[in-house]
Point group: C2
Chain length 249, copies 2
């Protein structure tokens, strides 16, 4: 992974519970932040229902368009956990029980109530040809199909998976500076435009906050080139009236 | 709107700030819950970057596939507020200043500091042919292009827009019952499958919770037919061991 090439990823969140509004999604922010820390741009997210055909179609569209694709959700033992089946359909391969995954489940459930039921054994199913990424200290393996990482939807377990995957993603982070302004967007827009004209490669975000006594707009300045961000920041601060700036970070 | 036809909607969240992980999205849950209350299924969500071409392409794909399309974000006065331009590109029409929207802005900014700047006037721009949905008690109008509603990304303002739109969406809600179980998914999966076999139209969700002393799995049973949900619930409770059920709602 080199510093100047922009690596992009997409995320497919599999979850009827999110589309119905019953559950507030946390995976998007979690995956986005983790990717950003590793210098990978999250280029698109799709939240799709628990339907094999829709998931497979979405996976095929996005895995071709990006360097990496991540999916979250749908990998437990119940009827609505159909991510592995959808992935097998996407890759045109059968679902098989992975011997190593089966062994891990057998060991885990040997002395636990209920034992290794048929339902629990579902978790050893993988699309044929999938790779298992396993770190013994970090729970059940992650399934990798070419450039597609199949991740769990439960935030606590997802966090563990990131630990197990960290060595696969070299770090090339974005540098971020933040300006909080007391003036609203309408008053500062011309200075933002002027800064972008002078620093066309800058990633400049503008996020108004309502009812906050401390600031009216949060401005984010980003680039993989730290010096570029600093020069753009200095340019912007030179344009903004002094009293308009609440603080910088 | 009749009760038996399933109306579907899609949502496009326009937001670099969400894809970068800087901001936790709240719009998905907000829109999903609101639609669900009105008996409309949210069938898909896409989170896309602030790029006119990508937004236009996504809008055209989704507005054809669903009864309604909603977009959130990108309608303020700054350089990264490009939703109206993207929508005009999607519909193949020019961007125009809407006279009624301009009048509302002129009235609003007449006695306010800074007045109606060029940047603020950007908010009166609409795709040519767009309809304005205006409720004087509820702030700035909502822009409607055929079946596409252009909504703001700021949660507090989005909530106001829902108020202004409520009369357009007749109510045909889903009925929801909830079962909290003490047993994990592996232990109850067979009973869920049996219930689905007997009630194939039931929308049945299964959501494990980790580290909660009260329950291990939350099961959601949904249908537009209240009696159907109640019968499916009775069926499931008849299958689950009594001690496995923590409570129902």
């Amino acid at each position: 992974m080199t510093d100047d090439r922009v690596w992009t990823a997409a995320l497919v969140v599999i979850g009827d519970e999110i589309l119905s509004g019953r559950t507030q999604d946390k995976n998007v922010a979690q995956v986005a932040e983790w990717l950003n820390q590793h210098g990978i741009r999250l280029a698109e997210v799709r939240i799709v229902p628990d339907e094999i055909g829709r998931i497979a179609e979405t996976v095929n569209e996005l895995r071709a368009a990006h360097d990496y694709l991540f999916t979250t959700g749908g990998i437990g033992p119940t009827h609505d956990d159909i991510t592995v089946d959808a992935m097998a359909e996407a890759f045109g391969v059968p679902v098989v029980v992975h011997p190593a995954a089966r062994r891990i489940l057998e060991d885990y459930y040997r002395d636990r109530p209920g034992g290794l039921t048929e339902a629990r054994l579902r978790m050893a199913r993988v699309p044929d040809g999938a790779e298992l990424i396993h770190d013994e200290r970090l729970g059940f393996p992650t399934i990798l199909c070419e450039n597609v990482y199949i991740l769990p939807g439960i935030p606590e377990i997802l966090e563990q998976k990131f630990q197990a995957l960290r060595d696969r993603f070299a770090v090339s982070p974005y540098f971020l500076r933040i300006v909080y302004t007391r003036e609203g967007e309408g008053a500062i827009a011309e200075h933002l435009n002027a800064t972008l004209a002078a620093f066309p490669e800058l990633l400049l975000g503008s996020y108004p906050k309502i009812g906050d006594p401390e600031y009216a707009v949060k401005l984010t300045l980003e680039s993989k080139d730290e010096g570029y961000v600093e020069r753009a920041l200095a340019h912007l601060l030179g344009l903004l009236p002094e009293e308009a700036v609440a603080r910088t970070e």
